[in-house]
Assembly symmetry: C2
Homo-oligomer: 133 residues x 2
């Protein structure tokens, strides 16, 4: 009696899956061992655990795998920006009542941002509305 399965598209990665995706986005297409080495430096996790996860992700369509080489090389199947957009949108709807302003404000106040970062965000805002004031 659990929740019915979600539409395969728009399926958000789980926590462990997100770690693996992040690794692949950062380092590019990688073998299981490479991903494991990176993750193991942060958390205690076994090689076969990572393998299993990546196999499942490939089945789900989250990863693409190249079986023509050995060891096999995995790459993210979805664009980083797409996944980020889905997850931000989800968070927005789930606990920010859909208010982008609230989310941005919360993000800015949660983590200290450098003046450079703030300036960069201003430029993004300018690009959105032409810099009206």
């Amino acid at each position: 009696m659990a929740r019915p399965r979600l539409d395969p598209e728009r399926r958000r990665p789980t926590e462990a899956e997100a770690s693996i995706l992040a690794t692949l986005w950062e380092h590019g297409p990688s073998t299981v061992r490479q991903v494991h080495e990176h993750l193991a430096s942060q958390q205690d996790v076994g090689l076969t655990t990572v393998l299993k996860l990546m196999q499942i992700m490939a089945e789900k369509g989250l990863l693409a795998r190249d079986t023509s080489v050995r060891p096999q090389v995995f790459s993210p199947a979805r664009d980083q920006a797409d996944v980020q957009a889905d997850m931000v949108g989800d968070l927005l709807d789930r606990i920010f009542g859909g208010s982008t302003e609230n989310l941005v404000l919360r993000a800015l106040s949660t983590r200290p941002s450098s003046p450079e970062e703030i300036a960069a965000i201003r430029r993004h805002l300018d690009a959105l509305d032409g810099g009206d004031r």
Copy 2:
């Protein structure tokens, strides 16, 4: 062989729990029936399911309950801003490589923001760094 239990503090609400918290933040302290009515308008979910979830959340310390009235009234036990900060921080670390700028940029490009909203965000930025340009 699942993931070990997390520290009770800093425990992020699950998906279903987040929906309930959002309802309570939006409508204030509510009965199970009220929460259910609100949620049922969005998804298909049973009354006893919501009840059970809210009981569990009360046990976990996510909700406070007033048993002196009938029906009982539940309210969020943690501040909305705190939970939002935890969840944004988590998303930041998990798939944005800790870059607030990326997250903000993604949020802004994912959802159309009104000029008013953009102006409000600018004011927040000004408050952070005094409006340096």
